[in-house]
């Protein structure tokens, strides 16, 4: 743990033993040790999962009790945050959990339930206020309204650009699938867009959209300007097109040629072939493209904060400017959580759309 006099200065380390009385530290330490002993041997994934959960519970226990003990009489500006040891242990237990889950390979339904349970647990812990004395949540407490705004804006940027890219990309992908000449010109252009570094892309949007906003009558009225939401949104859409179009083309092309020949031979129209054979067989690949875009855009939307696009990026860049690490975390942690959750949800969807059951059934 680190204690600091205020949020700017570097904190002083406090070891776990010095944290509080033995009645607080002991149960937490025991839980962590039990978690490690159960989790590190590789033979049984179930045991490893239990170990990871016990270990995480121990960390949480230390965090909540330690924070209040440290802040006791330390002054209003004092800040407590987890230190290196905490993050390392957190990482270890998360890895153990991920590895155990990968070994157990639960079905889509089980994974959905598990995700809901983890989210509910995280929600309850945050809601209960047990962690509210941590510095990052102190930052949150002073920015509740801004945080909600940023979250909505972030989602609007990521999901809105995805929806737009899908609305443009799916038909474009289908057209590219049908016509080789279109495919040969479209995909290289989209690949080129993808190679532009994100900072440069957002930067380039400023003069381009600024010019459009100034010359096109009415453009400014609907919010098109050099900085703000519009350029960020457009940049994200452009980044999304390659995965969407590319995976649509690859997915549609993944139908076995013999099946397509048979479909033609039995009298299916091109539309029927697309809807009954090519799309169902290509859906997992197409959704994988959507998954890439979603995760990528949630991450990239942070950069949008730089050109006034809003979102969690705002906190990150404020934090960078003020050298306030907690503020950076306030922007970064929700972004990571959002990306993780959407990746898991999309993986479940991809699995559900697999055309044939794997193995038996």
């Amino acid at each position: 743990m680190t204690v600091a006099a205020n949020r700017i200065v570097a904190g002083e380390g406090v070891t776990v033993l010095a944290l509080a009385g033995a009645e607080v530290t002991l149960p937490g330490l025991v839980a962590i040790l039990v978690g490690l002993t159960l989790g590190l041997p590789g033979a049984w994934p179930q045991l490893r999962l239990v170990g990871a959960i016990v270990g995480l519970a121990g960390l949480l226990w230390l965090l909540t009790h330690g924070a209040s003990a440290l802040l006791d009489g330390a002054g209003d500006y004092a800040r407590v945050s987890p230190a290196v040891g905490f993050w390392c242990l957190l990482l270890i237990f998360m890895l153990l959990m991920a590895d155990a889950l990968a070994n157990l390979a639960p079905g889509p339904l089980a994974r959905g339930t598990l995700l809901a349970a983890v989210l509910a647990a995280a929600g309850i812990i945050l809601w209960s206020g047990a962690l509210s004395e941590l510095s990052i949540l102190q930052e949150y407490a002073s920015r509740k309204a801004a945080f909600a705004n940023a979250a909505l804006r972030h989602l609007a940027l990521a999901l809105g650009s995805l929806a737009t890219a899908a609305a443009v990309g799916f038909p474009l992908g289908i057209l590219c699938h049908r016509r080789a000449d279109l495919r040969e010109t479209t995909l290289p252009v989209l690949s080129f867009l993808q190679t532009i570094p994100s900072l440069a892309m957002f930067g380039l949007m400023i003069p381009i959209l600024g010019w459009v906003g100034n010359t096109l009558p009415g453009a400014q009225a609907i919010g098109i300007a050099g900085i703000g939401f519009a350029p960020a949104f457009l940049a994200l859409v452009l980044y999304s097109l390659l995965p969407v179009v590319g995976n649509t083309v690859a997915g549609l092309a993944s139908a076995p040629p013999a099946a397509l020949e048979a479909a033609r031979g039995m009298g299916m129209t091109p539309r029927q072939r697309l809807l009954r054979v090519e799309l169902p067989l290509g859906l997992p690949v197409i959704l994988t493209g959507v998954r890439i875009v979603l995760v990528q855009n949630i991450g990239l939307a942070v950069i949008a904060g730089l050109i006034g696009g809003g979102g969690f990026g705002t906190f990150v860049f404020q934090g960078l400017n003020q050298t306030a690490a907690d503020l950076i975390l306030l922007g970064a942690l929700p972004t990571v959580a959002l990306a993780l959750v959407s990746a898991i949800v999309m993986d479940i969807l991809v699995d559900l759309t697999r055309p044939t059951p794997k193995g038996g059934a």
Binding site: A258, A259, A262, G265, G267
Partner: protein
Amino acid sequence: MIEIDRITKTYDGVHAVDSVTMTVETGTITIIVGTSGSGKTTLLRMINRLEEPSSGEVRINGESTLATKPHLLRRRIGYAIQGHGLFPHHSVARNIGAVPELLNWPKDKISARVDELLTLFSMDPVAFRDRYPAELSGGQQQRVGVARALASRPDLLLMDEPFGALDPIIRSRAQDDLRRIQQRLGSTIMLVTHDMDEAIRLGDRVAVMDGGKLVQYATPAEIISQPATGFVADMVGDVERPLRLLSLIPVSEVVEDGAAEGGALPAGASLRDALAACLWTGRTAVPVAHDDAVVGRVTLDAIRARAELHA
């Protein structure tokens, strides 16, 4: 009756199929045989208009195929291809019911037809109808592919090397199955192959294609005994001609009274089987049995005399 009338397909000035004319009787199996590049597959694909003819036309029961839209025409013509082409994401039942579904048959009629066809192909409907193609063996996939092509009781069944991907033992069983089912249903079948054995074994009539031209269209016996060109003779194979001819003649044709040593052959066996039995066991005659009762014998001399007739 299928009438193919001076049909031609030209790619970049080259005749892939050059003015082919032939008539296929209803209820028969016609085999189109040739080397690769002979135009046999193109000829077949022009019948259901997967390829559009450059000139000429095909009439099915007197009606030109050009009078119907291609996709509607194809729903009336069964089509089975090498490597079966089953839809991997559909169950066996949905695969077989694909064409009836396109024709908007009612659901119960489709499922009754699916079960009927599975039974016909010796596959238990309860065990197989809900499986996916990946859960079937190669031979089963091929049978489902043929069953799918027959599902809507088409006027004509086109098959493009349907047994090409099967191993020899499964292939000969599949050929027997096709023969049995064709005789049972009275279907009209046109089948493309490069395998002359298959052509002789299955065909009522065999059409030999070479360089886009139809060089001979005759019964298997005629193709073997009187090949029209050197190419046909090559396809039949000079060395194997007598054996191929013998394989077409049942032992019942030369059976004579008298006794013979050793195990008996069934009356349906060919002279080739009888010859093999004689040579392998060192006998000069083998008994012939009908329903377990010996009805006579076939002698090596009789086989030789029959082979020398060349017809």
